[in-house]
Symmetry: C2
C-alpha cells in the first residue's frame, strides 16, 4: 500500500471518529484555499458533522459567489473559539494559518490536507500529495476514496480550486488527472463560464489604473528579445494598487511575439528595485537572478537591486547581454 | 440509431473507400480550423492515405508549432491541384473555404466535418454536431468511433482546437465531455502550458500598442455599472493593429469589479462607429443593440451608429439608462 493510501485511510478515520471540526486555510486565501475550505465544509456537513469555517480576515469578494462563502467566519472580527479538532487546507506549514492559530486548543488533533512540496507534515494526520496541482485535487481524490458522492456545491468549490491553481488550466501542472476531475465536476452542473468570469476575469479599478500607467513604459532591447516595464512608487500610491496587482504585469512583455525575456522593474523604496524575470524557452533567468543575489526557476526568477530603476536597467542590460550570448553558444 | 451515429458510419466509409484526400479549412483559420485540419491529416496518414492540406493563405504564425503545420500548402502561392475527394474542416458553408474552392474538381465527393449550428449540410457526407464546442471535439469522437489510437501529434492538434474554441476552457461550451477529451489528449504527453502560451497568450506588438492607447480612454457611467472605451481610426492606423486585435478590448471594461455593461466604440469611417456591447448578468444588451438597428445575444451584441464617437456615446448613454431602469424594475 502506498503512503498516500495509508494517509487516505487515516484521514477517513480522523473524520469519522470526530464530530465537531474547525476548518481553516491560509492568510490571504486564494481560490484553492477558499475552494477547498468550503468543499471540506460541505463534505463534513454531508456526513452530519458540526463545522466551523474560519478565515483570518474577510473572504475575498471574488469568492463570495461560492456556496457557503457567507458562513465563513472572519477571525479578525469574531470571538476566539477554542477547538480540539482542526483541519487545515492548503497550508504548507502551521504558521500559514496566521492569527487563527489562537483558535487551536492546546494538544488539538489536526488533519493537514495540502499539495505543497514544502509541506512539513505538521499534522496529527497528513494528507499531502505534492504532485497534485491543487489542494482541491487532493480533496477530490479523498472524497472518491471514501466513495462519497460529490454534490454540486462541493463541485463548484473544488472546480474553483483547480481552475485557480492551474492558472485557468494553463500551467504545466494541468495534468490528465486534473482534467478528468474537471470533467467529473462539470457533470454535476457547475457552470465553467460563470466560475471563470468571477475568479479569473474580474479585475479591480486600481489594477486597471496601474496597467494603464505601466503599459506605456514598455521598452524592447536585444533586437526585440527583451521587453521591460517599470512600476514606480508613485504608480502604486496614485492608483491605490495592491502588491498582488503587479504580479501578472511582467507577462505582458514576455508574451509579445519574438520576446524571450520579460522584465518588470518595481520600485520598492527610494533606492531599492525588485526585478521580476520571465523567459520563454532559451534563457535561464534563474542564473541571471542568482548572479545578482536573487533566485528562482529557469523560466521565472527575481532579485533586488539597490539603486534607482535606471540603475537596475543598466545592470540587467549587461547581465542579459551575457545570458543571450551564452544561450546562442550552447 | 441516432443521426450522428449514421453520419459517423458514413464518414468512416468515406475515408476507408478513398485513397487521395484534399483537406481544407476556412479563410483566416483559427485554432480549431488549423488544429482539426492537421489532426485530420495525421489520421489519414495513419491509415496509409495520401493527403494534401491547404489553407487559403499562410498558416498563422502562432500555430506553426503544431506538428505538420509546415506541410500545409498556401493556396495563394501554390499551383491549383484539382481533387476528387475533399474534406472540409470547421466550415459552416461551402463559401467559407474561399479561393480553395478552385481546387475542388467538378462533382467531387465531399466530407463536411463541423460543429456550427448554421452548417447547411453541403457535403456528400456531413459529420456535423452543433452541440460540440469545436470541430476538434467532433473529430475526436469520430476517431474514437473508428476505434483508432490518438497519436501525440493528433492530440496536440485537437487540444489546440478545444482550447481556442472554448476560450481557454472559459466559455459556457466547456462541457464535461470537452474536459474528458482534454484529459484523454493530455495523457498522450501534450504539454498544456506550451500550447496555452503559444495560442492564447502570445500577443503582437501592434495589439499591445493598441491596448496601450485604448486603456486610457476608459470612462465609467451609471454609478460605475457601465465602462466604455473608444478606438479611433488613427489608433488603428498608427499602431498597425488588425481588425481582430480589437475583439477582446471590450472585456477590459466589462471585467472591472462592479461593472455590468462594457462598451467599445470603434470608429470604422469618418462618420461611422461600430458599437460592441457585453453584459455580465442583468442587462439584455441584444435589446439595446436591436433598438439601434443591430443584433446579437443577451450578453454580447453590437450595432453601427452613423455619427462620431461622441455622438454614439450620447445615443448609447440614453439607451443604457433606459435598459438599467428596466433591469431594476424587473
Amino acid at each position: 500500500m502506498s503512503d498516500f493510501t495509508v494517509s487516505l485511510q487515516a484521514a477517513e478515520r480522523f473524520i469519522k471518529e470526530n464530530d465537531r471540526f474547525l476548518v481553516v486555510n491560509h492568510v490571504n486565501p486564494d481560490g484553492d484555499a477558499t475552494g477547498s475550505l468550503l468543499a471540506m465544509g460541505w463534505l463534513l456537513r454531508q456526513l452530519g458533522k458540526q463545522v466551523t469555517l474560519v478565515n483570518e480576515g474577510p473572504t475575498p469578494e471574488k469568492f463570495m459567489f461560492l456556496p457557503g462563502a457567507s458562513d465563513i467566519l472572519d477571525a479578525s472580527k469574531a470571538d476566539v473559539q477554542k477547538h480540539d479538532v482542526v483541519i487545515t487546507c492548503d497550508c504548507a506549514d502551521k504558521a500559514r494559518v496566521g492569527q487563527i492559530a489562537d483558535w487551536f486548543a492546546e494538544g488539538c488533533q489536526l488533519l493537514n490536507i495540502d499539495h505543497h512540496p514544502t509541506n512539513d507534515g505538521y499534522g496529527t494526520v497528513n494528507l499531502v500529495r505534492s504532485e497534485a496541482a491543487a489542494t482541491a485535487e487532493v480533496l477530490y481524490d479523498f472524497i472518491q476514496a471514501m466513495k462519497l458522492p460529490v454534490s454540486k456545491e462541493t463541485a463548484v468549490c473544488l472546480y474553483t480550486g483547480l481552475l485557480t491553481d492551474t492558472g485557468g488550466f494553463r500551467y504545466s501542472n494541468t495534468t490528465s488527472h486534473v482534467m478528468g476531475i474537471a470533467s467529473s465536476l462539470l457533470s454535476t452542473g457547475v457552470e465553467p463560464g460563470k466560475v471563470a468570469e468571477r475568479v479569473l476575469e474580474t479585475i479591480t479599478k486600481p489594477y486597471l489604473a496601474l496597467l494603464t500607467r505601466v503599459l506605456p513604459t514598455i521598452e524592447f532591447s536585444e533586437s526585440g528579445q527583451v521587453a521591460s516595464m517599470a512600476v514606480s512608487l508613485s504608480d502604486m500610491l496614485e492608483t491605490g494598487a495592491a502588491d498582488e496587482d503587479t504580479e501578472g504585469l511582467v507577462n505582458y512583455g514576455r508574451n509579445v511575439e519574438g520576446v524571450e525575456v520579460g522584465i518588470l522593474y518595481k520600485q520598492k523604496a527610494e533606492n531599492q528595485v525588485k526585478v521580476s524575470l520571465r523567459s520563454r524557452e532559451r534563457v535561464d533567468v534563474s542564473a541571471v537572478a542568482k548572479s545578482l543575489g536573487g533566485g528562482g526557476h529557469v523560466r521565472a526568477a527575481g532579485c533586488t537591486i539597490h539603486g534607482t530603476i535606471e540603475e537596475a536597467k543598466r545592470i540587467l542590460s549587461q547581465k542579459l547581454r551575457e545570458a543571450f550570448q551564452k544561450g546562442e553558444k550552447s
